[in-house]
């Protein structure tokens, strides 16, 4: 039986041990052996090979393992870069990956306890979505051009037409050319839908989910973000886009809705930085020109049932009261196709299976797409998305 190195201190002095790991430092009389659980000192009678994977038999003397015999399993022919990546700053990346896995379990526990069904839909799809600001990766198949999914939305909505009422998915999405502190060309999306329900329920899910994750990590509903602790106890403040623009940019958003660049520039330069001071909140009621796949708000046709959650200034998710009208959906997709053509962008096809599902009928539904990597960043106090990824795109 191999003893994990973290378990040595619990042993009696004189205990016989078998351990294994990598030699990370050595002098004539001693070496440091590292395994996934920790580091231990070895007292040597013969020199070992630095950086080699090594198994050791010996006796624990309370401070070090006195080596009786050892076996070189595999010499390192190059410097151990992979180890350095996970081990630097006191095993920071390794610890974050362990915590990321715990967050993922906590997320699944949250949805499972609420009778959501976890689904997995295809990543290689005939239409990656027509949003003019998304650039998809094309793949060649024997059926012709396919794309890596930028969002599982179309396929998940087909399942709503099929009669599933509460579904969630944790999966990869692909968006070409998106690289930054909070962007990766390949990232993990958590997406869920509630049929015969509304956008308010999905907002409530969102704040409860984040509070659940925070509690499962630290015992209370507080995220230890890179900007400091953020109380995520529900309910979070809800602030309309109109109100946010008036308050933080001193501008009437209705004057910007037909100038997309000014709208987003104001958002990026003035509104989003101001939101960082507000802990956790929802930005909601987007102008209808930015509705995307959200339906118009009943009673106020100038805004859409679209919301985003911001935590410590990080945009965490984008949710909708879903557009379920097939006629309006096709009009929006055709408009997106025209706009893409106008801008010289690739014009992706309309997903006709999705359109057919809308024509079959999708119940009134709320849905949300949440950047799981960003949730992990917030929960672990990471500043850069790469800090919470096992292998970021930059290390491929």
């Amino acid at each position: 039986m191999r003893t994990p190195l973290s378990g040595l201190t619990a042993l009696a002095h004189g205990a016989e041990v078998r351990v294994a790991g990598r030699i990370v430092a050595q002098t004539d009389q001693a070496a440091l052996l590292r395994d996934a659980s920790g580091i231990a000192r070895l007292s040597l009678s013969a020199p070992m090979m630095l950086n080699a994977l090594t198994t050791v038999r010996g006796t624990w003397n309370g401070v070090a393992i006195e080596v009786a015999s050892f076996e070189l399993v595999q010499a390192a022919l190059v410097e151990p870069r992979e180890l350095t990546e996970l081990a630097r700053h006191d095993n920071l990346k390794q610890r974050r990956l362990v915590q990321r896995a715990a967050i993922l379990r906590s997320v699944r526990g949250f949805f499972d306890a609420r009778d959501f069904v976890e689904v997995e839909t295809p990543l290689v799809v005939p239409s990656p979505g027509l949003d003019v600001h998304l650039d998809a990766l094309e793949v060649t198949t024997t059926q012709g051009a396919r794309y890596l999914s930028t969002s599982p939305e179309y396929q998940m909505k087909r399942l709503l037409a099929g009669g599933l009422e509460r579904i969630y998915q944790v999966g990869k999405c692909f968006r070409n050319d998106e690289v930054g502190e909070r962007h990766q060309p390949e990232f993990t999306m958590l997406e869920w839908y509630r049929a015969f329900d509304d956008v308010a329920s999905v907002m409530s899910d969102t704040e409860q989910l984040v509070a659940h994750v925070a509690t499962s990590l630290g015992g209370e509903a507080t995220l230890q973000t890179a900007l400091g602790p953020v109380d995520v106890t529900p309910p979070w403040p809800r602030i309309s886009v109109r109100e946010a623009f008036a308050r933080f940019a001193k501008v009437d958003v209705s004057t910007l809705v037909h100038d997309e660049e000014r709208f987003y520039r104001t958002m990026v330069e003035q509104v989003e930085p101001a939101l960082a001071d507000f802990g956790a909140l929802f930005l909601c009621d987007y102008p209808v020109s930015m509705a995307s796949l959200a339906r118009k708000k009943p009673g106020d046709p100038t805004v859409a049932e679209r919301f985003e959650a911001y935590v410590a200034g990080v945009e965490l998710c984008n949710g909708f009261g879903e557009l379920t009208c097939p006629r309006e959906q096709r009009e929006r997709l055709l408009a997106d196709q025209r706009e893409r053509k106008l801008r010289g962008l690739p014009v992706y096809p309309i997903d006709e299976q999705f359109m057919r599902a809308l024509e079959e009928g999708i119940p009134p539904s709320g849905g949300n797409a949440l950047g799981l990597d960003r949730l992990v960043m917030l929960a672990l106090g990471a500043r850069h998305i790469e800090d919470v990824l096992a292998i970021p795109a930059s290390r491929l």
Binding site: L5, V24, A25, Q26, T27, A30, L32, R34, G38, I39, A40, R41, L50, N51, V63, E79, L83, T84, A87, R88, H89, D90, N91, D131, H133, D177, E178, V179, G180, E181, R182, H183, E260, E261, F263, Y264, R265, M267, V268, E269, E272, M290, S292, E308, E315, N318
Partner: protein, 187 residues
């Protein structure tokens, strides 16, 4: 001309005849919206820092600067003296102009001196420099808490993190762009 996708830390651009160096950049893309690059730009003449947000794909003018290969000679008062090895012309830069790059200088090191309107405004050392470690914890004094790097100081006073196996007196290669340890140099 440069594109926003060319922006990196250290990229030099100019507006209205003034050179700026990118000290910070962030790709931002509000949900379902268009992408921007948010930047902090240091005025290379005055040192003032401004913020600018560029739309993705926007064109930027590359700063019109001359880079001259020059040899570092020695420090003099608060200045660092460099020489053109062909013309023997000498130029002096201040510690402020060199910023952290002063830690990478060693006698006779060939550097690229930046000139704007024929005045020196900065220095780019080679991507990699080699220095002796003069201060670091020897070996591992019973520390079994984990972690495989430790702090170390080079002969020039630069503080870096090095792997545990690096001992005092060893030569290491340092990446001057990130300021991080790159690898051990066998003597």
């Amino acid at each position: 001309m440069l594109d926003t996708s060319d922006i990196r830390k250290g990229t030099k651009v100019q507006f209205d005849g003034v050179p700026f160096e990118v000290t910070y950049f962030q790709f931002v893309k509000p949900g379902k919206g268009q992408a921007f690059t948010r930047t902090k730009l240091r005025n290379m003449i005055t040192g003032n820092v401004i913020e600018r947000t560029f739309k993705s794909g926007e064109k930027l003018e590359k700063a019109d600067m001359e880079e001259r290969e020059m040899q570092y000679l020695y420090p003099e008062d608060n200045f660092y003296v460099f020489m053109d090895t062909k013309s023997y012309e000498q130029l002096r830069l201040t510690a402020e102009q060199l910023a952290e790059n002063r830690y990478y200088l060693s006698d006779n090191l060939m550097c690229s001196v930046l000139l704007f309107n024929e005045k020196p405004i900065g220095v780019t050392p080679p991507n990699f420099v080699e220095f002796e470690i003069v201060e670091t914890e020897p070996g591992f004094k019973g520390d079994t808490s984990g972690g495989t790097t430790k702090p170390a100081k080079t002969i020039t006073g630069l503080e870096i993190q090095v792997p545990l196996f690096i001992e005092q007196g060893e030569l290491v290669r340092i990446d001057t762009r990130s300021g991080e340890y790159a690898e051990r140099v066998k003597k």
